[in-house]
Symmetry: C2
Subunit: 289 residues, 2 copies
Amino acid sequence: MSGAFWEADPGELLRVREGFALGDVDPAATPGTSGGKKGGIAELARAAQELRGLQEKLFAQSRLGAPDRLLVVLQAMDAAGKGGIVNHVFSLVEPYGLRLTAFKAPTAEERAHDFLWRVERRLPGPGVIGVFDRSHYEDVLIQRVRGLAPPEEIERRYGAIVDFERRFVEDGGRIVKIMLHISPEEQAERLLSRLDDPEKHWKYNAGDVEERVHWAAYMEAFGAAIARSDAPSAPWFVVPANAKWYARAAVQRIVIGELQRIDPRWPDPGFDVAAERARVEATLGLRWP
Amino acid sequence: MSGAFWEADPGELLRVREGFALGDVDPAATPGTSGGKKGGIAELARAAQELRGLQEKLFAQSRLGAPDRLLVVLQAMDAAGKGGIVNHVFSLVEPYGLRLTAFKAPTAEERAHDFLWRVERRLPGPGVIGVFDRSHYEDVLIQRVRGLAPPEEIERRYGAIVDFERRFVEDGGRIVKIMLHISPEEQAERLLSRLDDPEKHWKYNAGDVEERVHWAAYMEAFGAAIARSDAPSAPWFVVPANAKWYARAAVQRIVIGELQRIDPRWPDPGFDVAAERARVEATLGLRWP
């Protein structure tokens, strides 16, 4: 299906496995392909139809009661390319079948509830691909690094996350969790390029520099969160993201792989086609005005 | 901007005016262009970048506090092409800046509230284009035709809708309301083609035939709703929709026109670029692992 671009399935190569260590992943690598930037951009365009076709079937079968749905969790350091994934991978599926949520710092109302409250409300329904740009993992990442919650609360949250994700899967969902992995050097370049271009100034957030200096602590927090929440039904993928074209094509391929495992089919509504045809034809004389 | 395809602005040609009568609009017409199907498809692709660029600016400026937002209301008889408008016009804007709602028959919870309750909850926030596939107008269309609400309640709703839309506009919103106008002959063809293709069976709804026979009553209800709710700040457009390529290109052009009137600009966050650059550069020594 993936033609010449993918020599090996990134869904296999980038999947977190026993003994995983974040320090072993090179953010500049492009495993599974030697297609290069030009090939990656062409693959993204080619496979967009494949993704769209699978998603249309997923949506169609849900109209007849199939429970299947997919949640894609995107986590990353700032400027790692989450927005680019949304705009270049998921913007190509039909809007009816996409539910995107960009989680920000919790509001007062959200803080008054358990940390999973706002996330639960944004889970995709049957037939829909839900995309979380940031997620409940912020509550064990920034909150851990910045000491916004005590260690025992962070511990509790790991368990709560695992239970929460398992319930979603039992309900007919699949989850893929993706860390876009860039190097601190690459982040600096991207922040500087936002400063270089007045059309990108609105994307620059002075607070990103403050988080940046805690890089090592963030990597430790990512490593712990991944180790504690990776599960066969809710796997983590660490996607090298210094090369945007690679990260986009790899995420697209991982999502296609998950949809293929769901294997959605055009549903059969079970009506009598000939009888319905006759009903429509009986109204053919209708004219207006 | 619109090049050779549009010889006249469909935003002007299709805008409802004093003395408007739905019976005067030919659903098979293609006013404003002689570009034909091939030209229409090319125009749709060309102007997609124009729409996307405007929407990116609308979104960007909202991050710095601009209140502007746009609501597009799509109403039509079944199979008139609302879904195609969403998938071919709005699917090309960034998902972050699009909020799509497909309104179905109201749920028990929704029926327990005023008819505008569920609509209010789905209005787009600043920077976002909201698209309603069906809307509060169902409450004065099907509910009128099928006698689901008494005439005095329908009368009350016209007024409530006008007030509701005015408040949205006062809040920084713009509204365009679009009726996709097909002929009953075209609808029959489309229903039959859904029956011809097993991949489209899930889109066929036996109930559509029951609504279809009330065509004249629906047209009367549309005419009344349009006359009662058309306003300079919340205008109605009746778009001939027998030719899908025409309806899509025309709606795209109408939406672009509205965004041009908003005239969104790249915002200036007002930070000191040199100082921020120095802050980032001070962290360039950061290495991990």
